[in-house]
């Protein structure tokens, strides 16, 4: 009886261990699959020609597979989104965490959660039908589907993550710090920016990195507003991101072209892993600090 019970406990322990290891298994599976299916094309094209080649003509008679335009577009697009999104998100977070009256805070946080929950295709749809024509009229360019439109959409899309994580970090600052600063004669606003923000800097850095991750991984919304032509990035030109490069040709690709798409996904995955490592670094420092 005793023994049977013990056996049962061991079996159940084993089952839970297995369930716990599923996440690890999934990450390994994704990594292995991406590496295995991404390497062959890089081998055939050559690492330098693939990463630094500046023309992507996958369906031409003599195809060339250079993904530098995609990499640069993704980097510029993300940087642009950060440039617009971070100041707005950061200041909103300071307002919500420190300055806002409770009722305003409740309403604004509702708005932020709403932004976080809006499906990316809806962002894409509104961007396609409002933003792109707007950009076309405002800057007198022939086509509004451009890097600029994508940057604006991405900036809005990363706002909720930046605001939520920053607010959490700012609210976790010990009130003693602020009290001390106030007692020394600093005004409340000065205290928030000179004391609370530096004290929460790891959390805010994590928020920015999270935003970078969101922006670089977004596919659908960007696909609908960026025009999707493999040009070298320029603000008013139709461009293609790493994510959209994968999504737009996957449906009809074959052979080397298909393999090259997997290689693009691998490059994107490496970017994401790097960003995750940075995120973990900041979060850990936040916990220790």
């Amino acid at each position: 009886m005793r023994k049977r019970q013990q056996l049962g406990e061991t079996v159940i322990h084993g089952i839970f261990l297995l369930l716990g290891l599923i996440t690890v298994g999934c990450v390994l599976l994704i990594t292995v699959y991406l590496v295995l299916s991404g390497i062959p094309a890089i081998r055939r094209i050559g690492l330098f020609d693939f990463l630094l080649g500046d023309t992507w003509a996958s369906t031409a008679a003599s195809p060339s597979f250079g993904i530098l335009p995609f990499i640069l577009t993704s980097v510029y697009g993300t940087a642009g989104a950060i440039l617009f999104g971070v100041p707005v998100g950061f200041l909103t977070a300071v307002y919500l965490a420190k300055l806002a009256p409770p009722r305003v805070k409740a309403v604004a946080e509702g708005a932020v959660s709403l932004l976080a929950g809006v499906p990316s295709v809806v962002y894409g749809l509104v961007g396609m039908l409002v933003l792109a024509p707007g950009v076309r009229k405002l800057f007198h360019v022939p086509d509004g589907s451009s890097l600029l439109s994508a940057i604006v959409v991405l900036a809005v899309m990363i706002l909720p993550s930046i605001i939520k994580v920053s607010v959490t970090a700012l609210e976790a600052v010990p009130p003693e710090y602020e009290d001390a600063s106030l007692a020394l004669g600093a005004a409340p606003v000065e205290t928030y920016f000179r004391v609370s923000v530096p004290a929460a800097r790891s959390g805010i850095a994590a928020a920015v990195v999270l935003g970078v991750g969101r922006a670089i991984g977004e596919a659908m919304a960007v696909m609908m507003v960026s025009g999707n032509v493999p040009n070298m990035p320029s603000l008013f030109q139709s461009v293609r991101f790493l994510t959209t490069a994968v999504a737009s040709e996957m449906a009809y690709s074959s052979g080397l072209q298909r393999q090259a798409l997997f290689s693009i996904a691998l490059v994107l995955y490496l970017f994401v892993l790097l960003i995750n490592a940075a995120l973990n670094f900041f979060l850990k420092r936040d916990k220790e600090g």
């Binding site: 159940i12 690890v24 994704i30 709403l114 990316s120 994401v272």
Partner: protein, 287 residues
């Protein structure tokens, strides 16, 4: 004695920072308001009973989104059915069983990595893993979404497991219960709130997901029952929106705005439900 009031420059600086904060918040809220207002104004007039209750017909050139609605429901149900046991099990392992600190850290790191992976990569791997082995169908999409939502469910279940007091577990052990019995009778009932929250969050994410489904669940608009539906390709609401927006045939733009309005309304409902459930459980645990 120095003047006790602060200098004009400082005052100006304070005013400026305050104004900037207020402006940013106004921009954020304004964008949210514009988005919801625009989509609802453009979309709601197009939400007709005919659109909601029929399937698209090429003969009549009419667009109906009933199949897409059903597909979305099927995929949410299927995903939650699979991801709940897995995620809650993983959370129970981490909080109740894991003795090995390093292993627990590895699992947590894996979950963190998983939640940072863009959905297009999930879509690609899902295509290689599932769609290429048994064809693109709703089940393949659901399995892809399971991997995607695993960290969310695990995290929320873990959070609520941490709130179960240790004294309850110790009491049960003291009465002679075995580990499994404690988990089953004391710990599991304590994580109901986490499971419900996890379900709501996951449902919201599945509702809005499109990139991961494009190459796994396919894009057919056929009307199916639950089990045939799982085995055959089908578009969810988001994918249908994308398809109609990309190739605007007759009525395509109207249909995509109608879907967008429906999605917005559902997103609002889900946000509201999440807030409500959160408040309810907070109140209950405070008692």
């Amino acid at each position: 004695m120095r003047n006790s009031s602060i200098s004009t420059a400082r005052k100006l600086c304070i005013r400026l920072m305050k104004a900037l904060c207020l402006l940013s918040t106004a921009v954020t809220c304004g964008v949210a308001l514009f988005l919801i207002g625009y989509v609802l104004v453009k979309g709601v007039p197009n939400v007709t009973w005919e659109l909601l209750s029929t399937k698209p017909s090429y003969l009549e050139g009419a667009i109906g989104i009933l199949p897409d609605i059903l597909n979305t429901v099927y995929i949410i149900v299927a995903t939650l059915l699979i991801v709940l046991p897995l995620g809650v099990g993983a959370a129970i392992y981490l909080t109740e069983y894991a003795r090995n600190k390093r292993l627990a850290a590895v699992i947590e790191y894996a979950a963190e990595t998983l939640s940072g992976i863009p959905s297009i990569i999930f879509g690609l791997v899902g295509m290689l893993l599932f769609a290429n082995t048994f064809g693109s169908c709703l089940l393949a999409g659901a399995l892809t979404l399971v991997i995607m939502n695993l960290p969310t469910v695990m995290r929320t279940a873990q959070e609520s497991l941490k709130t179960v007091p240790v004294s309850l577990r110790e009491g049960a052990f003291g009465l002679g219960a075995g580990k499994w019995r404690v988990v089953r009778t004391v710990v599991l009932p304590g994580c109901v709130d986490g499971v419900v929250t996890g379900c709501i969050l996951s449902a919201g994410r599945i509702l809005g997901e499109s990139a991961a489904l494009l190459f796994t669940a396919g894009f057919a608009h056929t009307l199916n029952g639950f089990f045939t539906g799982l085995g055959s390709p089908g578009a969810t609401l988001t994918v249908a929106l994308y398809l109609y927006a990309k190739e605007p045939g007759p009525g395509g733009a109207e249909a995509s705005f109608a879907i967008a309005a429906i999605l917005m309304a559902l997103t609002l409902c889900i946000n509201f439900a999440a807030a409500l459930v959160g408040r309810y459980f907070k109140k209950r645990s405070a008692l």
